[in-house]
């Protein structure tokens, strides 16, 4: 009973917080394949000459208050795979002095005989789809600075470490980095390198710092570059506001309500049972040695 009294309010509060969040999810990886490539997505995505541009239209269902976070969501992408999650070198990322330390980065440690900065599979497979938003034919600026953790920018990625020899190998993975900007400013890389623990994850792409009115339509021009077709992964574009509990996540609210409700129901049931047929307390005949006199 007590539990249900505590649980139900917390559950309601969490659920409300989650429901308050306005979220737009748009899955685009199948729709952004030109008709002539249908059934052969792999060759489309691997063909460097094909036109990857794709337009999407999103409708804002409810008023969205700024800041609106722009995420990309990948499904069935194992950033937590053992080969992948360890394939980085924190020392190299931190300081330019350690450009040569590429231990753990195998097989993306060196290319053409010199070390890769940043090395490793994670950096190599950096997500490279791009999004351009416009509202009523006016470009909607997406602020891509400040999307990574401050602690990462300050301590983990050095401001004197510049990409070197990156994506120069035979196999091109993901996005190329601007070799003139230090790693600490390449926030998309920093975000990407915070590996996700689950195969379905969202990563912050940027922030829209204006309010969006309900029913307004946003058109998105995106470059569909990233290969998720070889493993059948989904790609989604997500625009979401946030609340005290974070983004839209009904789980905790529902979980609290379920347990609270169950307790309430059980408590009621026990009360009814007790009223109908009270059990005698302290009945010694239940004690084990009274049941079996010899005890052996």
């Amino acid at each position: 009973m007590l539990i249900s009294v505590i649980f139900i309010p917390i559950g309601v509060a969490s659920l409300l917080a989650s429901r308050d969040v306005v979220e737009i999810v748009d899955r685009y990886e199948t729709d952004c394949i030109p008709a002539n490539y249908t059934g052969d997505e792999l060759s489309f995505i691997q063909d460097p000459s094909s036109n990857k541009t794709c337009s999407r239209t999103l409708t804002v269902p409810k008023h969205m208050k700024q800041p609106i976070y722009v995420y990309y969501q990948l499904d069935n992408f194992y950033q937590n795979h053992r080969r992948y999650v360890k394939s980085r070198n924190d020392k190299q990322l931190r300081s330019a002095d350690n450009a040569n330390s590429t231990s753990g980065c195998d097989p993306e440690d060196r290319a053409n005989g010199s070390p890769i900065v940043p090395c490793g599979l994670i950096a190599w497979s950096l997500f490279n789809d791009t999004y351009n938003f416009s509202l009523n034919n006016e470009a909607l600026t997406v602020n891509t600075s400040g999307i990574s953790w401050k602690s990462d920018r300050d301590k983990k990625f050095g401001d004197n470490v510049y990409p070197r020899n990156f994506q120069n190998g035979t196999l091109i993975g993901g996005k190329r980095l601007d070799p003139s900007r230090p790693l600490s400013e390449q926030e998309d890389l920093i975000v990407w390198m915070r590996t996700a623990a689950l195969p379905t994850f969202r990563k912050l792409y940027g922030k829209i710092e204006v309010d969006l009115e309900a029913n307004s339509t946003i058109s998105v021009t995106l470059e569909n570059n990233y290969n998720t077709y070889s493993f059948g992964g989904k790609k989604k574009l997500v625009l979401s506001t946030t609340r005290w509990l974070g983004g839209k996540n009904d789980f905790l609210g529902i979980a609290y309500l379920t347990v609270g409700g169950l307790c309430f129901f059980l408590a009621m049931a026990f009360i009814v049972v007790y009223l109908v047929k009270p059990r005698q307390l302290g009945d010694p005949s239940y004690l084990s040695w009274n049941r079996s006199p010899s005890g052996h």
């Binding site: 917390i10 053992r82 080969r83 996540n249 905790l252 052996h296």
Partner: protein, 1015 residues
Amino acid sequence: MRRYVYIDDSDQQDLYCDNRISNRKYTILNFLPKNLWEQFSRFMNQYFLLIACLQLWSLITPVNPASTWGPLIFIFAVSATKEAWDDYNRYLSDKQANEKEVWVVKQGTKKQIQAQDIHVGNIVWLRENDEVPCDLVLIGTSEPQGICFIETAALDGETDLKTRVIPSACMGIASELLHKIKGVIECSNPDKDIRRFDANLRLFPPFIDNDLCPLTINNTLLQSCYLRNTEWACGVAVYTGNETKLGMSRGIPEPKLTAVDAMIDKLIGAIFLFQIVVVIVLGIAGNVWKDTEARKQWYVMYPTEGPWYELLVIPLRFELLCSIMIPISIKVSLDLVKSLYAKFIDWDEEMYDEETTTPSHATNTAISEDLGQVEYILTDKTGTLTENRMIFRRCCINGIFYGNESGDALKDKELLNAVGSNNPDVIRFLTVMALCNTVVPLKSKSGVISYKAQSQDEDALVHAAARLHMVLVNKNGNILEINFNGLVILYEILDTLEFTSDRKRMSVVVKDCQNEKLILLSKGADEAILPCAVSGKQVRTFVEAVEQYAQLGLRTLCLAWRELREDEYKEWSLMFKDANSTFVDREWKLAEVCQRLEHDLEILGITAIEDHLQDGVPETIETLRKAGINFWMLTGDKQNTAIQIALSCNFISPEPKGQLLLINGKSEDEVCRSIERVLLTMKITTSEPKDVAFVVDGWALEIALKHHRHAFTELAILSRTAICCRVTPSQKAQLVELLKTCDYKTLAIGDGGNDVRMIQQADIGVGISGREGLQAARAADYSIGKFKFLKRLILVHGRYSYNRTAFLSQYSFYKSLLICFIQIFFSFISGVSGTSLFNSVSLMAYNVFYTSIPVVVSVLDKDLSERTVMEHPQILFYCQAGRLLNPSTFAGWFGRSLFHALVVFVVSIHAYADEKSEMDELSMVALSGCIWLQAFVMTMETNSFTILQHLAIWGNLAFFYIINCIVSTIPSAGMYTIMFRLCKQPSYWITMIYLMELLCISAHCDCRDGPGASA
């Protein structure tokens, strides 16, 4: 091989080791290799070493090698430190003994050297109250009779003074000449028998006629004894250093393994198998996933052609990931709590014997749990159930009973009158009482005589004789001085025919100094004396007297004497001397020779001595019996006495409630029939609420054990009570063995040297530090002051120890499984590739700190108050049946960990999904979930809280946050700032609260369902 010791001969100095005592196991140089070798001989350690080595292979290791190396080194360091500390203490005490200054004669001159420089053959001089530095053969003392007194308490625990005499060959050598004495002692090689020393001494001219002189243990001063009441003594060193009798008997006893330990080992084996299965299944799944899915995941970049061992990589990774399933710290925490249990026993004030100021003591710190599982108690009678304080109560002299009316012969007017009127029978009776013993009278300065006796019976007899005006005043070498009614009578002791438990009698040959008559005085058990009576004389009255006294529970002794002819004695004396100087089977030969003198005895009478029951004995037996423990009494006393004592201490119930079945017979057939009859009766009566007990004597037992072992075993299982009388020490041990083979937990309790074998044989040996010395207490695992403390030892200490160990071990498994299951679940969402969810530091700290500190505090937990347990001993059934630690309770804990892991995992991955699914954060959420769970489970399982427990549980939780916050401030650490971020998120706290509440509810349902682990 024999040893020839040349007295004070520097040539043979180096032949034998010097007197440096070394109890050390290690030296500084060999400590590390030897200790490591010892630790690695344990299977668990080998396993962890293998894991740790595999972790060095970076391809397969899921975590930093430090997560296993850290705890492994920590645990090794703890054990090694403990060993080193013990060894250092041993070294210090050795050093103290080795550097003690002693006076030694070397090349005819006396000088002071350190004890460690004594060599075999040196003459060592001791002064009063000096400790004997090595085993010596006495050659001279300050006493003109050539005797000295020593206290052997450190050797055998007996507190009385023992007399040691110089060999006849050295008799009368002036002390100045002793410096120059030369000779050879031929003795056996060092052994550990402290009651035997078979040697010969031959002095070189000019000292004596080159005659061979036999040496016995009575001519020796053994290491660690103290010289008392003697101004000085000197002796030749024969055994030195670690070759002394004491040094040889110092051995490491076979470690006893408790049932709980065996069960834990079994469970570890089961977990190990489970782990192998998990590894194989996940390994296969991982390889399949790799070949089907991972090849498509271009970003993982699996090479198309791997090395040959590629198939093994994933299984090995899982092996490493699952290695935490077996808690690395379990042995260390178990050792730690076990030594705490032992300390609790040592500190227990309620088991402190005020009378003798002896606290209880746990010598063996490893087996306290077994105390809670005892099923059979085998107890000695004298000194264990009784006080072993003998009081002379009645006697029967020449057919006349004294003391029957008053119950105290010393106040019986008739006896006093008879003494007053110089009744010759009575006088002879008193003479035997006063003379036939090995008691040493000591006269204090004020003239009060006190007696030092090895046997309580002798003490009682001498005291009683003194009360009847036959006072043993002085023992001056071989001359005994008796004061009878103011009249001084002198006797010279010619020979002592010693008491052995086989002979069951002792005799002395004395010469009456007034009329030069030779007399043999004997006393002993009736069945040992009466057959030696002069033929044709009626012994019926004595048999009846013995019967009558035994009915009353009194101990009887039969006194007899015989006048010896001069020539008869002379002839026998030679044989005796001969037997005394043999080396082979000396004891047996002596017994045979003694037999030749002890015949045609004139029986004088019977003494009856009362031995009080210790207080609390009947209650203790009753309580423990209610707790389902079966009692067997094993005694050397005779049947009737044993039965009487058994009745008076609630051991058996009187008719008609109880029934006694006798097993007797002298031949195989008789015994067989007897056993069958008893078996039959027992089977019939099992349905009736009747206390059936069987009684067997030593003779029948011998036959039963030899020829009808099977039937007797069956009987032993059926019977809850048994009395075995007239049994020898080895039979006692055999009975223990018999019960042990039936898989019963046995506890043997005794107080004397004759119980030592049984105590060592039993699962648990308890010694009572009583009047018969400390021999039993030393050999035992536990020593207590009184029998009544046994109740508390078993019901309180045994039970708590069992409960606590059961909890602790299963909890250790639980927490390891919990974290391991989470890892396994995580592997399903990480492509079965063997990624570790938790970082290395957390894993290591989880096992070593976060979870072990609160558990260790659970040794303070008391599920029921001590009083409740003492009042309701039936509660012990739970422990006896092993209901708190067995495969099914373990299955409960296993299920619990699986369930908890599932809940923690599912809740964390859902609460931290999508944009929050950052690896480091999620891992910390899951880990904090586990830590909260630990606190929660500990709180649920703790029955009684003390401040310390609260401190450990909640302090540990706080400790977790503090440590992680500290780690979070280190930029180079993987989890930099993670903890601060989490603590700021409301969703983190809401998740934690949710986990707790959810498990709280499920725990409630758990309890309601009954058999859950929290019984």
